[in-house]
Symmetry: C2
Subunit: 236 residues, 2 copies
């Protein structure tokens, strides 16, 4: 038994959520009504809710309230199954919205690919959903030489499928970095969450089988919506 009241509250809320999940249809009652039910302040109540948010049990949708988080999506960044494929493989419904497309330089991408800072890229920014919940925003920077008319023909299909099918690229070498982050205001807004919400930042630099740079991409995931799973075999 913990001493701090908000930690007791956390446990009580956890049980309350377990029992009423179905009845509430995924949405928790208003903070004010929960605070009243537990005879405490909204401040303390929110502290307890934030605990559960950190655990990934619940989340907030911007100014709309607290919601019970669906199961995490299994995600293996070392395989290159497309988003749509692995989401569907887990019985979930994927969706993608393209937010912007343009061609311009992006020094961080250039550096990650070993190109000069003023190297222009085809830039695609998109938001991805699982079962109608926005779970990540992603920016792709593709070297124009590798996919010249990309922005004319791209709608929302698999980018890797395009690169392989249309331009015959083999995405052979990948450098992947993952760090936890607090979502920047702009990313948070595009995911309909409060700024500072916990997220996971995944960056990939991709070269082909001749070490030529193909693309760089950066994903911002809601921290509670994925589980990184890797299966390995055959080393020492």
């Amino acid at each position: 038994m913990s001493d701090a009241y908000y930690l007791q509250l956390t446990e009580q809320l956890r049980h309350l959520i377990d029992q009423n999940a179905a009845q509430w249809e995924g949405k928790l009652p208003a903070e004010r009504s929960l605070a009243e039910r537990f005879a405490t302040t909204r401040v303390t109540l929110r502290q307890a809710l934030s605990q559960l948010e950190g655990e990934g049990l619940i989340h907030r949708s911007n100014r709309r309230g607290w919601f019970i988080s669906p199961a995490r999506l299994d995600y293996d960044p070392t395989r290159d199954a497309g988003f749509n494929d692995y989401v569907r493989a887990q019985g979930r419904q994927p969706r993608t919205a393209v937010l912007s497309m343009e061609t311009r330089p992006h020094p961080p991408a250039a550096r990650a690919l070993g190109l000069p800072d003023d190297q222009p890229f085809h830039h695609i920014r998109r938001r991805r959903y699982v079962d109608d919940r926005a779970v990540l925003v992603e920016s792709l920077w593709v070297v124009p030489d590798r996919a010249p008319e990309l922005l004319e023909i791209y709608t929302d299909q698999s980018l890797w499928g395009l690169l392989r099918g249309r331009w015959g690229h083999h995405l052979a070498n990948r450098s992947i970095r993952m760090v936890s982050e607090a979502l920047a205001p702009i990313d948070a807004e595009e995911l309909f969450v409060a700024p500072g919400t916990a997220g996971l930042n995944i960056r990939r630099a991709i070269l082909d089988d001749q070490q030529r740079p193909i693309e760089f991409d950066e994903e911002h995931w809601l921290h509670d919506s994925l589980c990184i799973c890797v299966e390995l075999s055959g080393q020492t």
Copy 2:
């Protein structure tokens, strides 16, 4: 420019920290003095500090104050270099403290390894440091048949080195899962941080080259102390 004051505060603090990092020797001034300096309340000040904590720029040591976080440790969970090796390879100083050793069943480990729930394990719990900052606690569950007298001979060397050198095991197949978490009170206490601090949970199930279960381990990292880096080559 953001509207919310605590977001402006966050930026001001960020700059303040940048400029005074050396002078403060890693430790921020007291919350009350910072609140006074910015003519605001401790509550709002803490909200801004929490933002920076989420970004991994600063962290708290339980009741001792706010500290500037050192650079993240690069960590490749797909390679099996020992903790000591890869910490030193990055010019940092590793340290390990053994917290407990015992032999008992642990159903989650059993399930991950495909063994019956009542299967006993040699259990080692240890805390790991980088440059004298505790960055993770780890629990290891080793199948006793694979390393019978483990608990008698183990001090704080590399476990994988032992398994390979003394018992000749080849750690061939690994199943790795990583999820963000909020540190449970017990883990938080062992890392000297407040309960609910953001963490990263890494679980590994390890089999040998004949698919025999060897060990299961679970690590709880402080979220701001690692960067997961994976380099891959040679697939499509």
